[in-house]
Amino acid sequence: MIALAYWVQSLLRVLGGTVAVLLPAGTIVYLFLFKMMSFMQSRLGPMEAGPYGSLQLFAEVGKWLQKEDIAPERADKRIFRIAPLLVLVSTFLLVAVVPFGPDAYFTNFDAGVFYMLAVSSVSTLGILIAGWSSANKYSLLGGLRAAGQLIAYELPMVLSVLGVVIQAGTMNLQSIVMQQNAGSIFGWDGIGNPFILTQFVGFLIFMISVQAELTQTPFDMPIAESELVSGYMTEYSGFRFLIFFIAEFATAGVFALIASVLFLGGWGIPFSWFGWDSVGSIDNWMNVGGPLIMVTKMVVLSGIIMWVRFSYPRMREDQLQRFAWKVLVPLSLLNIMATAILKVVF
Amino acid sequence: MSDETLALPGDALREGVVDALRSALGADLLDSLIKPNDDVWVRVATSAWRTAGEVLRDTVGCDYFAFLSAIDWMPSPYGKSEDDPTEPAPEVDLTVRQGYCGGDTRLQVFARVTNTTKHFGVTIKADVPDDHPAVASWIPVYAGANWHEREAHEMFGIGFDGHPDLRNMYLPTDFEGHPLRKDFPLLARMVKPWPGIADVEPLPGGDDEEGGE
């Protein structure tokens, strides 16, 4: 390990945080929203800006930045302007605990899982005040739907993560990564012990909840372009809409990162491949290789999120509430019980 | 597909319609016309308009409501606006001539209902009095008549007694006039000169004799 001065470390972390939020957002928007969606619909998507439309993203950002920043006449203007920032802040807070390598993390503390679940609901506040302050009935309906939905799906998400926490015996995300990569399946350590194998039900529930937390189809009732005309975002334009947009896809990326940390072994590769046995013995290049591995996993997971989004119609509000409370919550409770019993037995 | 549904309507069925209406309405059935292998028209008295609808629905079995509308039988005083302004305006014959089953008034309401099991339809007409243009509403008979009566009201100025809500459907609330009446000019054709007027400049010599072959 190399020792860096505190200010260098801090600078690196701030820069890294920005990159860790914007890069997934950009990747997801270009790879999936522009390209994968187009291919799934037998078209090519943006092709004019840059090779294969790769610079389209910058064109879009430029377009949004040029637009006038409009607030409706009767809106609660101060709150109206703050709302998108609050949603984006939630994303930045979320990325803070995600470990990208043995030393490449922003902060590493023992209540990582707890913190992550707590800050992920900050965006709910932003969405609710965006819906309320817009002085628009569609926005209001969208904001209320979003609040109801995000709270409903917070619970199965927490409960599904609990399974992992019980199995790992820690709430520190870094330790969870270590355990998965250093672990073994009945003595065979060829692929470590990623929790997706033992916690598959938890993984499914987590991914469904993520889909709902991100308000992606089939859980996009709060946005619902065809009925609520984008719900709480109806009145936003210009860079405030852009912030909502970035936050939506950045959060998708960050949640995919967290899912890969919790269930897929995070930044690590099975330690047995290189004969590492403790944190100290991990080679330094993992601080560069780790983030790349994370991004790969993030792309795969967010690809699945987007694939589902482009294929399904949306559920009605009461149906998705029923699904959360009557299916996901009992299922995740059962999962916790089974995990706890097995933990005691083995 | 059973053979029964395939059977296409015969004229016997149409005569049955007229007979049923005659026995129910008596003298209020003013006129009827059956075109063989085609269709049937009946005209009932204004006062029997709603009763006739009920008879059609309950006795004749016309459960399906196709439409309700009106006709203004007065020829348009404006023509097609395709006249040469340099020539004297052509004479317009404004005598009112009604269509099938005759009639006494300028405005007539007519509707069409269909029997969906025996596959035949009836066109039914009634005169609308000139001094008090109103007939009974068909909403209690066919609920779907609601919008059609609103449309006829705003387009022809015909009232429908018993209609709960004769608001304008298409036009602004303060619109004046009834567009589908023939004496309502079609402004789109009035404000623009007709381009079909021959505009050929004669030879400077000015002889009108046709040359060539």
Partner: protein, 174 residues
């Protein structure tokens, strides 16, 4: 209560994912292997409209006699014709010079035209034709009024009438 549906072998949710994945694969597949997108990258590649496509009306000025039939049958009143009488050389040697109508103005307002084709159909002298040309948009709506020179230029793009399907009756005359 809604009636029962047959239970599918594969859950519909998975089938849906399958359909999008299949389309994805088909679009990514190279053109040579029968794949590719259904769309055309317009300014770079162009689709060719069918022969009969009603793109724009072309005018053969020599054939027009300013008989006004087209202007009168136009539902939108979008054809404007002005003409003057002129002398033309006789058809037979030694005949008297013919008097013909020479066009001064033949304008079609494409902002009004609804491409119904009635004018082309009623023209008794074969002066109007349909051309499949479609790239003549203008930034200003007033510029869509095209005069006889422009309409004449489009004559070059008028294709031959297509052969008819088997069983069609041969056209008499013409």
């Amino acid at each position: 209560m809604p009636s029962k549906l047959p239970k599918p072998k594969v859950p519909g949710l998975l089938k849906g994912l399958g359909v999008t994945a299949r389309t994805f694969a088909e679009t990514v597949k190279p053109k040579k292997m029968g794949g590719g997108a259904a769309t055309v990258q317009y300014p770079h590649e162009k689709e060719s409209p069918p022969i009969r496509a009603r793109g724009v009306i072309a005018l053969r000025e020599d054939n027009c006699t300013a008989c006004m039939l087209c202007a009168r049958s136009c539902p939108d009143w979008c054809i404007f014709i002005e003409a003057h009488k002129d002398l033309a050389p006789p058809r037979r040697a030694g005949g008297a010079p013919r008097k013909v109508n020479k066009l001064d103005r033949f304008d079609i307002d494409y902002a009004l035209c609804m491409y119904c084709g009635i004018c082309v159909e009623v023209c008794p002298f074969d002066a109007l034709f349909w051309s499949p040309e479609y790239e003549y948009s203008e930034p200003k709506i007033a510029d869509l009024l095209h005069d006889k020179t422009k309409l004449g230029e489009w004559m070059e793009t008028v294709p031959e009438a297509p052969a008819l399907e088997a069983g069609a009756e041969k056209k008499k005359g013409k």
